[in-house]
């Protein structure tokens, strides 16, 4: 079920109506848990068992960790959670990848091992809810929070449908306390949620799905196109991905808000970031901070000798790349972030920084260029085609033989300018909160009119969110 589908709107209206009609906290949570399982089961009911197994595992681990004082046993329980959760993720997401990589390496070394690929279906959202449950176990282990005694609450934390399949990756420490009090509709900013949902819908159904055919055209036939098209096609994918993923987060946050729960922000105008480091504090925030708190800092973070720090950064980002998908393209994508962050770190502390001041705009352009380049590996069908697409983008040489000359669209540049301007207006909060000044009937009228107008621009056949595949 996709947020932009009509059937999701119907589903949510039923969930919303019944939820607020129920009087007790427990019945409401049971209702939310049931509907969350229905939501998840709509894609493939078989994977409900995985969701339930992951919940049960972390429930038991959490309770055991709380009651145990022996450090070795506590560590053992933590490993149970890590092995169980990462084992499921590893099997469903990475088994074929690692097997294929092993076989090709063995063949390269001269060993004759026949390739074997198993037909494993990737459960939707497994990367997201695995990280959520892991954060719970680790936080209980670190005694940053008490274990959750209510299985219902923990199950709802894991399966809460607005953020189940594509984040934000909510921490138990933020969400579980919200489950301890009866939610009140009178404390919900319904207008804000409705506006955010419509904005998310617009970003996904109009902008992202609208741009998708051009991106598909470019990435599918890049050898036909010239250098100018590379500077349209590659940034367009960056726009498509942002509008797609941030739209999902917007709609998830709005839906959760309408049900009385706050989710963390996941995006904060990343394309206006003046540096790579700033970019990762604005893009997929919940993942970046998760990696920082549960991987990078435990490895040592920025402390220690230069080689140790480099190791920490590179390993973290290689794994971040791998988290996105079981393919070497994603590893390269992550691998491109590590050196950039290290370089930036050293630049900051170097004396050259004072001698050659870089204006924020230049920093922003350089950051965007690097991000766009990395995203080529994220989007391309293979590493070969990614390298082919990078050629015009880096060396200004048209790919193909003879070199391609086609233009992706001569007015697409104006589309990019227009979208940037729209984004800037939003960044500067020039139109923020205008709906709060409207009266109740005025708001309903404007919202209905806006909804009717937005529908004329949507792609009738809505495509799944890009991050569903992760």
């Amino acid at each position: 079920m996709i947020f932009t589908e009509f059937r999701f709107v119907l589903f949510f209206l039923v969930v919303f109506g019944v939820y607020w009609a129920l009087r007790t906290d427990r019945t409401r949570k049971l209702w939310l848990l049931g509907t969350s399982y229905v939501f998840y089961g709509a894609s493939d009911w078989r994977f409900l068992t995985l969701l339930a197994a992951s919940t049960l595992l972390d429930y038991v681990v959490g309770v055991r960790l709380q009651g145990c004082t022996d450090p070795r046993r506590r560590k053992g329980w933590l490993y149970c959670s890590l092995v169980g959760n990462l084992g499921m993720l590893g099997f469903f997401k990475y088994f074929n990848f690692f097997t294929a990589s092993f076989v090709s390496t063995a063949n390269w070394l001269g060993l004759d091992i026949p390739p074997r690929v198993f037909d494993i279906v990737l459960p939707v959202g497994i990367s997201f809810y695995t990280f959520q449950t892991l954060s719970y176990s680790i936080d209980v282990y670190r005694r940053r929070m008490a274990c959750e005694r209510s299985l219902l609450d923990l199950a709802l934390f894991v399966a809460f449908f607005p953020q189940l399949v594509a984040g934000p990756i909510v921490r138990a420490i933020d969400f579980l306390p919200q489950l301890k009090s009866l939610r009140q509709l009178s404390k919900v900013d319904v207008r804000g949620c409705l506006v955010l949902f419509l904005i998310g819908f617009f970003k996904k159904a109009v902008i992202s799905d609208g741009i998708a055919p051009f991106v598909e055209d470019y990435y599918g036939h890049y050898t036909d196109f010239g250098v100018a098209s590379a500077y349209l096609g590659v940034p367009l994918y960056a726009v498509q991905l942002y509008c797609d993923f941030s739209a999902y987060s917007d709609m998830a946050i709005a839906c959760a808000g309408l049900l009385g729960y706050n989710l963390c922000a996941n995006f904060n105008f990343p394309y206006f970031a003046p540096s790579i480091m700033a970019f990762w504090t604005r893009w997929h925030i919940s993942l970046s901070f998760w990696l920082r708190d549960y991987l990078f800092n435990p490895l040592g973070g920025w402390r220690g000798s230069n080689p140790r720090v480099w190791f920490n950064v590179v390993v973290t980002w290689l794994l971040a790349g791998l988290w996105h998908g079981a393919d070497w393209r994603f590893v390269i994508f992550g691998g491109m972030m590590g050196p950039a962050l290290i370089l930036q770190r050293h630049w900051r502390s170097s004396r050259w920084r004072r001698r050659i001041p870089i204006p924020p705009l230049v920093g922003n352009i350089l950051t965007m260029w690097w991000i766009c380049l990395a995203l080529v590996f994220f989007r391309a069908e293979s590493i070969d085609s990614a390298l082919g697409i990078c050629r015009p983008f880096v060396l200004f040489q048209a790919p193909g033989d003879p070199p391609g000359t086609a233009l992706l669209g001569d007015r697409l540049v104006w589309l990019l300018v227009g979208l940037t301007a729209l984004h800037w207006v939003s960044y500067k909060e020039l139109l923020a909160g205008w709906w709060e000044r409207l009266g109740p009937w005025g708001f309903t009228t404007v919202y209905a009119t806006a909804s009717a107008c937005v529908l004329t621009l949507v792609n009738a056949t809505s495509s799944p969110f890009i991050y569903f595949q992760f």
Binding site: K187, L196, C264, A406, L407, G409, R411, A452, L455, A460
Partner: protein
């Protein structure tokens, strides 16, 4: 204690903040109602200035026909068995040679079933083409099956006006597919109707060419190999594109699949031809839509109603409705066969007869079970011209022998 990711930017729930006054349930319902009124009011206003959802198949033909609507005497309307078989460039000279200087247009579109045909027929009639006299159509199936994401495509959305949707819903309820299927299908038709009502994506179709500018139109395309050129109405702009011509635009993989398909149906056509040679009886009805043997079916009351309704629609607008049955190597029963048995059809030009027209079942001319290749289409058009000329002669004779002042023939045929 909270995590660093907890943000106040999207805190839509204020835990310790002031409670907002909650409107009464009645007020909430009134707001929901007002939202619906405004939404559909705006949608209605927009639909009066915006075009209908355009698809790559029907819309270009409708637009081309509208430009030249007063030039045609005959319109062939229906599925790919019209689209791929009736060549006006062959037909018109034959009619002219027989003393009927008429001009025809092929409004066949791949996969156009009866419900869509009925809708397009209404559009054609609403244009009031000055010279149009004959509407020729193949009503194969009712076309209530909407699978996958079909109900969201501009093509399906476009024909889901209130009348067609209600009709589709009635047909779904009348079918014996079981409650689950009926519910699913009914919902899909309703959704398609809602999408049309909400002008889903009608402006988007104009935006893509706008941002694309003069660059080669590739992104907006939803065409595939069988479109056979821009617009799908052929180089002669008479609506006909043979399958051979369309085949040239297919990709390597598509060609491979098509070759396999072609081989399979050539074998079936060969078997049919041999069977007809050895046993000179018409081998039908032998198979159902799915290819399984089945008993002879009767038209349902609703299907009967649809056929009568379409006949009445044409007659009221002053056009003659002629039905046409194209050759099918599987010799399956379709709607028209049932309607013919029920005596509902005024005129049926039946070319689906391997005894009378064995040449149309010649494996060398077949593309697949339902379609002929370019040479087969030419032959088909010639045979059709012969039948049509006979029909015109009979019509002229009937008019000549009709007493002055008597009403024109076309009394509601069949009836219950």
């Amino acid at each position: 204690m909270t995590s660093p990711t907890a943000s106040s930017e999207f805190d839509f729930v204020t835990e310790n903040g002031p409670r907002r006054p909650l409107p009464a349930l009645r007020t909430c319902l009134l707001h929901a109602l007002w939202w619906l009124v405004v939404f559909f009011g705006v949608a209605r206003a927009l639909s009066s200035v915006l075009p209908l959802p355009a698809d790559a198949w029907t819309t270009p033909k409708l637009q081309l026909f509208e430009q030249h609507k007063d030039e045609y005497d005959i319109v062939f309307l229906g599925s790919s068995q019209i689209y791929r078989h009736v060549d006006p460039a062959v037909l018109d000279p034959l009619l002219a040679a027989a003393g009927y200087p008429l001009r025809s247009f092929n409004f066949g579109v791949s996969g156009m079933d009866a419900l869509e045909t009925r809708y397009v027929l209404e559009q054609v009639i609403a244009m009031k083409p000055a010279r149009l006299r004959w509407l020729v159509t193949d009503f194969q199936r009712m076309g209530i099956l909407l699978t996958g994401d079909n109900h969201r495509t501009p093509r399906v959305t476009s024909w889901h006006d209130l009348g067609s949707t209600l009709l589709a819903l009635r047909l779904v309820l009348e079918s014996d597919m079981g409650p689950a299927w009926e519910w699913d299908l009914g919902l899909r038709h309703l959704l398609a109707f809602c999408y049309r009502l909400g002008n889903l994506g009608v402006l988007r179709q104009d935006l893509i060419p706008l941002v694309q500018g003069t660059a080669e139109s590739r992104a907006s395309t939803e065409r595939s190999w069988f479109m056979g050129g821009p617009g799908g109405y052929g180089e002669a702009e008479n609506g006909f594109v043979s399958l051979d011509e369309a085949y040239t635009t297919a990709s390597g993989y598509e060609r491979k699949l098509l070759r396999e398909r072609n081989d399979k149906w050539k074998a079936v056509a060969t078997a049919l031809t041999e069977r007809v040679r050895s046993d000179p009886r018409r081998p039908r009805p032998i198979l159902s839509y799915s290819g399984e043997p089945r008993a002879v079916q009767e038209l349902s009351p609703l299907e009967r109603e649809v056929i009568l309704d379409v006949t009445r629609l044409c007659r009221d607008a002053g056009y003659d409705l002629v039905f046409i049955n194209a050759p099918d190597v599987r010799q399956r029963e379709y709607l028209l066969d049932e309607a013919q048995r029920a005596g509902l059809l005024t005129v049926l030009l039946d070319l689906d007869d391997p005894l009378r027209y064995p040449e149309l079942f010649d494996p060398a001319l077949r593309f697949d079970d339902l379609h002929l290749r370019a040479k087969g289409a030419e032959l088909y058009t010639r045979l059709l011209a012969t039948l049509f000329i006979e029909h015109l002669a009979q019509q002229a004779q009937a008019e000549a022998t009709r007493p002055a002042g008597a009403p024109a023939p076309g009394v509601e045929p069949g009836g219950r």
